[in-house]
């Protein structure tokens, strides 16, 4: 069976088609993927020397980045963020929300620093109210742990362990 090991010339499809057309490869001996390639060709031909396109690399920026920048510049310690938790908003996201509502309220009359100051105050109050919500005491935590233990009790019978 004839082969063409020239990976830098054409594509696997063009080379196999060439072999079939010239008679070196019989139609029955064509590769398994040949018909699949003809029915579902790739978007771009897998040529070795396909040139790199002359496209620019865009920078991704949002309007909210201005707010983020000023928030993180003035507040270095913002705590940790759990990336796996997509239900709760992060502190930065909450700040952006507050900032935008304040900005909408003023509607262009106040300066950026005024809006920022008010937004920060609102955020601080928000934080305090959250802390007050989940007030944890030692006794309540102990009772909760006990309840969970009784719920998750696993009954193990030693005589049943080796039964099949």
């Amino acid at each position: 069976m004839a082969q063409s090991r020239l990976e830098k010339i054409g594509t696997i499809y063009t080379r196999v088609t060439g072999l079939i057309k010239s008679g070196a490869l019989k139609w029955e001996d064509r590769p398994l993927w040949y018909d699949i390639y003809e029915a579902f060709p790739p978007k771009e031909e897998p040529k070795f020397d396909r040139p790199a396109p002359n496209l620019p690399l865009k920078n991704i920026f949002y309007e909210e980045d201005k707010i983020r920048a000023v928030f993180h510049k003035n507040n270095k310690n913002v705590g940790t963020t759990n990336f796996l938790d997509s239900k709760h908003k992060t502190i930065t996201q909450r700040f952006i929300q507050i900032y935008k509502t304040v900005e909408a309220q003023y509607d262009g009359t106040a300066s950026d620093s005024q809006i920022y100051q008010e937004a920060i105050d609102l955020l601080k109050r928000d934080q305090e109210s959250r802390k007050a919500e989940d007030e944890i005491s030692l006794s309540s935590a102990f009772k909760e742990a006990q309840a969970q233990e009784s719920r998750d009790k696993v009954k193990i019978n030693v005589s049943d362990i080796f039964k099949e």
Partner: protein
């Protein structure tokens, strides 16, 4: 000299006759898999995932600006503070094509070989291959495995019909030798290409993250599902 030129003209006519005969030969023998190829999504692999699944599996994270391969630019949405972000709409399109091809190859009882070089996710890829009844090679690649197969294995070897690269690079961040070797031996390839990879030699590239365990897990799950669907339809259509 005159006789030579006559011969060359006659030779030309013979080769066109042979070309016509091979084509008519192709049309004459009916292909049992032709019905599957006519359908744009015979195995419903397009419904195996959504763009949100890609996002949750962190497929859109590329490496940094500095290591970007310019050939990957068409698939990149942009750079967020130095980090390359892939365009998930494009990734979804390429991934659907790749899954469809994998399913068709499985439908035709083709041999599929998974590749991943990277200790963190190697075991997962090997397990995936075992679960879908295909093969995996996640160890050091000796030079002549494809190109010198008969000598290396000591017997006539059937090479894979499709190579799926979950990471098209090896441990030293150079392109995996098997990408070039598969192109040499005329084997179709599907490969996940990260922002520092070269997508040119892969037949069906899939631009996306190849490093996060979440992303590799997603690819393993999707390709396993596509291959198993292909095999199921094969059993249903031909072994009734």
């Amino acid at each position: 000299m005159r006789s030579l030129s006559l011969l060359s003209r006659k030779w030309g006519s013979i080769s066109t006759a042979r070309l016509n005969s091979t084509l008519t030969e192709a049309q004459a023998t009916p292909d049992p898999h032709k019905a599957a190829l006519a359908h744009p999504d015979y195995f419903s692999v397009h419904n195996l995932f959504t763009v949100k699944d890609l996002f949750d599996a962190r497929v859109h994270y590329g490496h940094r600006d500095g290591s970007l391969d310019e050939r990957m630019l068409p698939y990149v949405y942009g750079s967020r503070l130095g980090h390359i972000i892939f365009d998930l709409d494009k990734t979804a399109e390429y991934l659907r094509r790749a899954l469809n091809v994998a399913a068709h190859v499985a439908y035709r009882d083709g041999i599929i070989l998974f590749f991943l070089r990277g200790a963190q996710n190697s075991h997962l890829v090997e397990k995936t291959a075992q679960e879908c009844g295909e093969f995996a090679h996640t160890r050091f690649w000796r030079g002549g495995i494809f190109t010198n197969a008969t000598k290396q294995f000591g017997a006539v070897t059937r090479l894979p019909d499709l190579c799926i690269f979950f990471n098209s690079q090896n441990n030293v961040l150079l392109q995996h030798t098997a990408v070039k070797d598969a192109a040499k031996m005329g084997i179709a390839t599907v490969g996940v290409v990260d922002s520092n990879c070269n997508p040119n030699l892969l037949t069906y590239p899939v631009p996306g993250n190849d490093d996060s365990p979440a992303a590799v897990e997603l690819y393993c799950r999707l390709f396993k599902a596509a291959i198993l669907r292909g095999k199921e339809r094969r059993k249903a259509d031909f072994n009734e």
